[in-house]
């Protein structure tokens, strides 16, 4: 049996507008229950929706970034079903005439690239939030639930992919690229932990080229959870088929603690959403000038930027991806690299040590105490042989903590390397004298001895010896 996994994703992104989609309540996260509500977002009798212009604008922007066609005249539909987090028991969404369709997003898997189709990007309203009260704290076994409608009515852009993904790795890569793309557009903060980015997946396993049964996976609350859930589900379905069983079409819930998926059973009637055009809203007809302006204002997107970083700066794909993950980080790199030092070395320091420092201190690149000038200076100091790479790590740390420039730190602490040959000659002589055994080994061609002797030199100099110069002298003496 030849298996092929088929994955399609459905992503919901909360747009970071100030107000909600159809009313003027704050769209900010959290708050005391139901303090960001009004007759409209509570579905009070007689209230009517009026769409938020910026939400429409930002959805078009996202659609353009995903190479979608913008629909000349789209309409809102009502999606009818009962659920306690739905104030009206219908959701205003889009159906057969969404605001955009037919896009693509290309992911680079290293050995190959894959162009993933984007079926559509449409606009809808978010639901409220249920807190399940009971011993488990989960919906299963809850005694009752408490409904908070602060989130109800926040604008949601829904992105539906074609079932073009073939592995959990591809799915994760797709999500990462989509995440950074949305962040580049500055239309959402995309926090999976706060639910402003949510992802459901449809996964099936085709056997010998014939389509499998689709299973929907919900509750994947991080990239890691998504990857684990899809990997688990892929294996589960393969095993089921191999054992002669049949995959059931259903919705399954990912339990991150247990690392398993399980069927999400509900007492609700088989879904029949009875979509029909929302009579309270008029059609959306974004005119060409509006769309053109948005298209022209699109920033360089992460996918393109990775490609350019590889070709223009000679970076590896991995490091280019790391640096382009956040727009500000990529900007930081380009600014630093523009100061005349080797871009590969600059990239390595940003992605490596600086990244770790930022991460540990939970500081964003925008408020990084080491400016692009300082970082460039650091690389210059290393390149000029003034400090070793190892010393540079400490210098960067110090610069990060104090905000002082690397050059100043090097000068103040006397951290300059010993590269002076006569000084090193004396040091090496001392070391050979003190370690005759190792010196003999070295003469016998045992390369490990070099490491030991170098270590002794560094110990004597507290690491200030220029390693290249020192090892050259040892070799000259002992071979």
């Amino acid at each position: 049996m030849e298996f092929e996994t088929v994955i399609g994703l459905e992503i919901h992104v909360e747009l970071s507008t100030d107000s909600k989609m159809f009313c003027s309540c704050s769209a900010g996260f959290g708050g005391e229950p139901n303090t960001k509500t009004c007759p409209v977002c509570l579905g009070h009798p007689g209230s009517l929706p009026v769409p938020n212009r910026r939400a429409v604008n930002d959805t078009i922007l996202l659609a353009l970034a995903l190479n979608c066609d913008i629909t000349g005249c789209s309409i809102f539909h009502r999606k009818n079903y009962f659920y306690p987090d739905m104030p009206k028991n219908f959701q205003i969404s889009q159906y057969d005439i969404p605001i955009s369709s037919g896009g693509t997003l290309e992911i680079d898997m290293g050995e190959y690239t894959r162009t993933v189709g984007i079926t559509r990007v449409h606009l809808e309203e978010d639901t409220g939030k249920s807190v399940h009260v009971g011993e488990s704290g989960r919906i299963h076994g809850a005694e009752y639930s408490l409904e908070d409608f602060n989130r109800a009515g926040i604008p949601l852009a829904e992105i539906v992919s074609e079932p073009d993904l073939r592995t959990p790795d591809e799915a994760r890569k797709f999500m990462q690229l989509l995440h950074s793309t949305i962040r580049y557009l500055e239309i959402s903060d995309c926090k999976m932990e706060e639910g402003s980015l949510r992802c459901d997946a449809n996964i099936s396993v085709a056997v010998d080229g014939s389509m499998g049964t689709k299973v929907e996976i919900k509750n994947m609350n991080s990239f890691r959870a998504m990857h684990r859930a899809l990997t688990y589900e892929e294996q589960r379905q393969r095993r089921t088929i191999r054992d002669g069983g049949e995959v059931v079409q259903e919705t399954r819930h990912w339990d991150d603690a247990r690392g398993t998926t399980s069927p999400l059973r509900s007492k609700e009637e088989a879904f029949d959403y009875r979509y029909f055009p929302e009579p309270d809203l008029v059609p959306l007809e974004p005119d060409e000038a509006w769309v053109r302006e948005l298209r022209e204002g699109l920033p360089e997107l992460p996918g393109d930027r990775v490609r350019r970083f590889v070709s223009e700066y000679g970076l590896s794909r991995e490091i280019a991806e790391t640096l382009t993950g956040e727009r500000a980080l990529a900007d930081y790199f380009e600014d630093a690299a523009g100061k005349g030092q080797d871009p590969v070395a600059v990239a390595k320091w940003i992605a490596g040590d600086l990244g770790a420092l930022l991460n540990d201190a939970a500081v964003t690149i925008q408020s990084c105490p080491v400016g692009t000038g300082g970082l460039s200076e650091l690389v210059e100091l290393i390149d000029g042989g003034v400090i070793s790479g190892k010393m540079a790590k400490d210098v960067l740390k110090e610069a990060f903590e104090t905000g002082n420039s690397p050059r100043l730190i090097v000068e103040e602490k006397g951290l300059t390397q010993i590269a002076d040959e006569s000084e090193l000659d004396t040091l090496v002589d001392e070391v050979i004298e003190e370690n005759p055994g190792a010196a003999d080994d070295m003469r016998d061609g045992k390369e490990q001895a070099l490491k030991f002797l170098m270590g002794q030199v560094m110990k004597k100099t507290r690491g200030k010896a220029n390693p290249k110069a020192a090892s050259d002298i040892i070799r000259k003496r002992l071979t």
Binding site: P39, G43, G46, L48, V50, N80, F276
Partner: protein, 488 residues
């Protein structure tokens, strides 16, 4: 002064001139309400204290020389389908028996800004679903012309209140004839404006693409004045037309000579009672007498208007009424140990009356998988044909006319268990809602001692012309609109 027999604009003038106070006007109507409500039942809730307080406030403002609005102190009845902040809004349903809105409908705000005093919330068919005001959870309203008959519906309470002298005018709403049909049956004037002319914000939705708030009054002049107050763009309603304000009442001059009138064949012959037709034809000849050119026009798709309506309206209603689930407001049936789905099912089964449930089921059915295209999709196409036929007709005619209802008011209980027959009583009014155009009903005489309504329809935003023709016809007909119920 016999305040309750004054028309609304005359009351406004008397108050302005200082002949009577706002308190006098309000008190007179509240007394009248106390007197006849036991028979008529035009109101679900009367705002005795609030109205008195507000009238006092207006008098105080007048005394201080401040401007309480152009219609200061004029009382008004408001259909209980309109949201009133701090005052119970039931929609004629057990579901909302104790519901107190946190906001005012835009039109309620506007009548308040004009200085009017709300007397109370008028009775209606539950959630406006009905043509007789018999489906109200708070008991039927009776026709002031004959308490054994219905006042029509769904704005039957508003119509009966105006007719019985329990309010000088009222706000109603019209989805398929709910202003015009009761206006006709109670012998008053009622108008459904162009869809989008009057804000729907705060009008509890029945069928959103058809609903429109409108004025109900004793004469065309009052009707025009009240329309002038409530019409105009509202940013809270996406379907509100950003049109210039029009002084409808100021434009009534009775100059109608040379205008072309089309009698719509499909709703002015077959299925209409002979007595109604007689009065209708007499009124048409009055129009001729006024120098208008009368012709007959056939609009064949009207044959299907009722069918299309009884697909579209319930479909939208089934979705609009889904929000009544016992969670955020309204009635809730609760029992130990039940889950939310049982709570929903029981709440809605007990909270809604049978007509509402019937329409929810019907609307859910026509939208459900497998039936959508045959019913809802097709009905919306028929709607397009009706819109087109009206457009074509208005290229030739300035106004179209028909009887408002196929018969005069029928007896209570006569049609309540026979929905289809009941639905047929809206056959003349429904095409207007499907096309979104304005239409007015004014009384054109009596048949079997009961009022007959004359319907005038105009093109979208053609309110001024429709009102002017109605105004001219009204003075020609000289209908005495007082019902026998104790009004002297």
């Amino acid at each position: 002064m016999d305040i309750i027999n004054l028309d609304a604009l005359a009351i406004a003038e008397s108050i302005r001139e200082g002949e009577i106070s706002a308190v006098d006007a309000t008190t007179a109507f509240l007394e009248r309400i106390r007197e006849v409500e036991a028979i008529v039942n035009a109101y679900i809730n009367v705002s005795y204290e609030e109205a008195a307080r507000r009238a006092e406030m207006i008098d105080a403002m007048l005394a201080e020389g401040r401007d309480p609005g152009p219609l200061a102190g004029v009382p008004i009845a408001v259909k209980d389908l309109l949201s009133t902040r701090g005052f119970t809004t039931t929609c004629g349903s057990r579901m909302l028996e104790n519901f107190v809105p946190v906001y005012d409908a835009t039109v309620v705000g506007r009548v308040g800004e004009a200085g009017m005093v709300m007397l109370g919330k008028a009775n209606m068919d539950e959630f406006a679903m009905g043509s007789s005001t018999e489906t109200s959870y708070f008991g039927p309203t009776r026709n002031p012309w004959n308490p054994d008959t219905v006042p029509g519906g769904s704005s039957g309470g508003s119509a009966a209140a105006v007719s019985a002298g329990e309010a000088p005018w009222a706000l109603g709403s019209d989805t398929g004839g709910s202003i015009r049909q009761p206006a006709a049956m109670c012998g008053i004037v009622g108008m459904k404006p162009t869809y989008g002319l009057v804000s729907r914000y705060g009008l509890v939705a029945f069928a959103s693409s058809l609903d429109q708030v409108g004025p109900m009054a004793r004469n065309v002049g009052d009707c025009a004045a009240l329309l002038g107050v409530i019409a105009g763009h509202d940013p809270m309603d996406s379907t509100s037309i950003p049109a210039e304000k029009v002084d409808y009442q100021g434009r009534l001059d009775g100059e109608v000579r040379g205008l072309k009138v089309g009698v719509v064949k499909e709703i002015s012959s077959r299925g209409i009672d002979e007595g109604v037709l007689e009065r209708f034809r007499a009124a048409v000849s009055k129009l001729e007498g006024l120098g208008m050119e009368v012709g007959e026009i056939s609009l064949p798709s009207f044959e299907y208007a009722l069918s299309a309506y009884y697909v579209i309206a319930p479909a939208e209603a089934s979705s609009n009424l889904a929000r009544f689930d016992g969670v955020r407001y309204g009635f809730r049936a609760s029992a130990e140990g039940e889950d939310i789905w049982e709570m929903y099912d029981r709440t809605r089964s007990i909270g809604f009356g049978s007509e509402v449930k019937r329409r929810i089921i019907l609307g859910t059915y026509v939208l459900s998988a497998g039936y959508y295209d045959a019913y809802y999709g097709q009905a919306r196409k028929v709607r397009t044909l009706i819109v087109k036929e009206f457009e074509r007709a208005f290229r030739t005619y300035d106004v179209l006319v028909s009887p408002t209802t196929p018969s005069v008011a029928f007896r209570l209980g006569e049609k309540v268990d026979d929905p289809l027959t009941m639905y047929l009583s809206d056959m003349c009014t429904i095409p207007v809602n499907l096309a979104g155009i304005p239409a007015i009903s004014l009384p054109c005489g009596l048949s079997e001692g009961m009022p007959v309504g004359f319907q005038l329809m105009g093109p979208a935003l053609g309110e001024a012309t429709v009102l002017n023709v109605a105004y001219a016809l009204e003075s020609e007909l000289g209908f005495d609109q007082r019902p026998p119920i104790g009004r002297s």
